[in-house]
């Protein structure tokens, strides 16, 4: 038995509704039915039995020949924001919490602007409901802690998993 999927050729995409009585998908022993111009039935292939290599996964691949599968790299998950509690928990786990506190406490207060900057940083650290990855203070703290972009991404990813 073969499962066929009805597709339109331009644009190349699946057809989800029946077309003049042609079902969007059908399974049978015979060859695929004829279709009106601009449409076609292609074989709907099962997921490959071979396990995807490390760091890759199977995604659907529609061509004019088949509705199959192809390998793609698993995209690295990018976390845009986490809650304050999530981030602080993670920093405690990673042993960075005290360093952050020390960095803030060590900020200079020699000018009025420095006093304001330190107060703002302290307020943000203690009261911001969320920490956004693209916040300038994250970049400032990253530089102060000597972390790479990847390490900060990993911190956000870990934090996002905190209940």
């Amino acid at each position: 038995m073969t499962t066929y999927q009805l597709i339109s050729l331009s644009p190349l995409q699946l057809v989800y509704k029946s077309l003049n009585g042609l079902p969007p998908s059908l399974t049978r022993e015979s060859a695929a039915p004829q279709t009106p111009e601009g449409y076609s039935y292609v074989e709907n292939l099962p997921v490959p039995e071979e396990e995807a290599p490390e760091g890759q996964y199977y995604v659907r691949d529609l061509t004019t020949e088949s509705y199959g599968w192809k390998l793609e790299d698993i995209p690295e998950e990018s976390i845009e924001a986490v809650t304050r509690i999530q981030m602080r928990d993670t920093l405690i786990e990673e042993g960075l919490f005290d360093s952050v506190e020390s960095i803030i406490q060590g900020m200079p207060e020699t000018t009025d602007q420095e006093i304001i900057d330190k107060k703002k940083m302290n307020d943000w650290w203690n009261h911001a409901p969320n920490f956004r990855r693209d916040n300038i203070r994250i970049a400032t703290m990253q530089a102060a802690l000597g972390l790479t972009d990847e390490e900060v991404d990993a911190l956000f990813l870990s934090a996002s998993l905190v209940d």
Partner: protein, 141 residues
């Protein structure tokens, strides 16, 4: 033709009465036979993916699909004619029934799901308004 009434006014003969009587019988026979064929069950088969229902052989039909039907035609139908086609699938099954006619109810795509080997059945009702044919598709088993 029409049925005639015999009203004797004293000048008609028995022959006149018989002619009117027989004329009415002939007229009735013609009309009834014109209706009889419409309700007969026609047995039809597709050829080269075309399935034709000839209403001269009956506006209702049974058919067993042995190939994909991509052309469905009703011939010799008149305005106001209607009928029903009972459909089964052969042992292979999975054959499609495609038509450009307007489907007002149901989905022709369901025909492919009829259980093969004559174990399941579906029906397509049709109506002709003289210009177009309208289809109604039943649930299938």
């Amino acid at each position: 033709m029409a049925q005639n009434t015999f009203i004797p006014d004293g000048s008609q003969t028995h022959l006149d009465a018989r002619n009117i009587w027989n004329g009415n019988a002939t007229d009735a026979e013609f009309r009834i036979s014109g209706l009889e064929y419409k309700s007969m069950q026609n047995v039809i088969s597709s050829s080269s993916s075309d399935l034709t229902l000839d209403c001269n052989d009956g506006c209702n039909a049974v058919t067993t699909l042995t190939e994909d039907v991509t052309g469905f035609n009703i011939i010799n139908s008149e305005t106001g004619d209607s009928g029903l086609i009972l459909i089964e699938q052969n042992d292979v099954g999975g054959w499609v029934f495609s038509s450009l006619d307007t489907v007002l109810g149901g989905d022709l795509a369901d025909i492919t799901s009829i259980t093969p080997s004559g174990l399941g059945v579906g029906a397509i009702g049709w109506y002709s308004d003289g210009t177009d044919q309208y289809l109604f598709v039943s649930d299938v088993t």
